[in-house]
Symmetry: C2
Subunit: 205 residues, 2 copies
C-alpha cells in the first residue's frame, strides 16, 4: 500500500510487527492515534518504553516484577514449600484469579518445543531443579497446558527431580465446568473417568 507519508509508513511497519496485527489493522490504529490528542500517543510510547526498559524478572520465580522479588515471592503468607510450575506469567495471573492457590510459582518462560526451536536450555528449568534440590520444597504442581509440548516439558523436569522424593502432581484434566459431555473429545472424557474423584469433592464450592 502506497502511503502519502513516510512517517505514517514507518509507524504502520512497526505496529504490524506485533503478532496478529496485519498492515490494514496497523494503519487503522495509526490513523486512530492521529485523530486523538498528541498526549495519548506520547503516553502510549512512554508506557511501552518504560515497561520494556525498567521491568524486572523475579529472581526467585521469574515472574514479571517491578522489583527484584515479585509480590508473590515476597509475601510471607505464601507457602514456599509448594511450587506451581507454569509456562508463562499469564498463567500466574489466571491461577491467582482463582484465589485457590497459596503456594508460590515458577515461570518456565515457555515449553520445550523443537518445532519452535525451544530447547530446555532456553527455559528456567535449571533454576527450578536447583530450588527443588535445596530440600525446602515439598510439592511440585505441574500446571502446563495439556499438550504434547506441555507433557514433554513436565516429563523432562520430572526425570531430573524424581530422585529427590518430593511429591509431584499435575493439574486435573477433565471436562470443563459448564461444558456439555457430548462435545468433549474422547481423550479428555476417558481421563475424566479414569481420574474420577469422590462425589462430595466434586461439587462446585
Amino acid at each position: 500500500m502506497e502511503m502519502s507519508s513516510k512517517l505514517l509508513e514507518k509507524a504502520v511497519a512497526e505496529i504490524s510487527q506485533l503478532p496478529g496485527i496485519g498492515k490494514r489493522t496497523a494503519l487503522r490504529l495509526a490513523l486512530h492515534l492521529l485523530k486523538q490528542p498528541t498526549e495519548q500517543t506520547q503516553m502510549l510510547a512512554k508506557a511501552l518504553q518504560s515497561m520494556r526498559e525498567d521491568i524486572k524478572f523475579c529472581t526467585q520465580c521469574h515472574n514479571i516484577a517491578d522489583t527484584d522479588t515479585c509480590e508473590i515471592c515476597a509475601n510471607p503468607l505464601r507457602d514456599r514449600s509448594v511450587i506451581c510450575v507454569v509456562e508463562d506469567i499469564r498463567d500466574v495471573m489466571a491461577i491467582e484469579n482463582t484465589n485457590l492457590f497459596r503456594g508460590i510459582y515458577h515461570v518456565l518462560g515457555g515449553k520445550i518445543s523443537p518445532i519452535d526451536g525451544v530447547g530446555p536450555g532456553q527455559l528456567t528449568i535449571a533454576s527450578l531443579v536447583d530450588k527443588v534440590k535445596t530440600g525446602t520444597v515439598k510439592e511440585l504442581i505441574f500446571a502446563l497446558s495439556p499438550t504434547m509440548e506441555g507433557d514433554t516439558t513436565n516429563f523432562y523436569i520430572y526425570r531430573q527431580i524424581k530422585d529427590t522424593g518430593i511429591i509431584t502432581s499435575a493439574i486435573a484434566r477433565g471436562i470443563a465446568v459448564g461444558d456439555e459431555l457430548e462435545f468433549a473429545d474422547e481423550v479428555t472424557l476417558g481421563r475424566s473417568i479414569l481420574h474420577r474423584v469422590p462425589f462430595e469433592n466434586s461439587l462446585a464450592k
Copy 2:
C-alpha cells in the same frame, strides 16, 4: 486482572485504549514485546511519537503528508479540475491503488453523523466549498461510502455548490465485481438495473 508489575499494568492500559484491542490482547502484545529485543519496543515507540508529532496535513486536500503539500497535490501531472471527495485518507490510498484516477482529492475527515457527534463544522467542507468557488474546478466526484451518513454529507455539500454550475457525480453503486447476483441486497440490485451502462463499457479492462 491483577498484575505483578505496575509498569506492565500501565502499558496494558495504554495499549487497550486502541480501538478493537481489549485487555487480553493488550497483555499478549505487551508480553510479546518483553520477549523481543529492547530495540523493537524503542523503534515502535519512536515511530509512533514521530508520526504523531511530525506528520502534516496537506494544506490543499487535507491528506496526510510529510510536507505542507502532499505528493498528489504537488504532482504537476494530476488534473486539478477534477476533485474526488473522500471521507478518509484510507479512501485516497484505495482509489490510488486502482490507478484509474488522475484528478486530485479532498479529504473531509469523516462524514456528518449526529449520532457520533460529528457535524459539518468538524469536517473540511468549508475549504472544499471555497475551492469550488474559485472557479478552477470542473467536476466534483462524491466518493463517500454509500450509507445514510455518506448520502447526507454528499447532499449537504451539493446544496452549497450547486449554484456554481460545476459537474457533480457520485461513484457507481452496484454489484461488486465477482459477486453472486442472488446474494446482493435488493436496493443495490435495483440501482444496478436503474443505472445500467452500455454493454461495451461494462467489460473489465
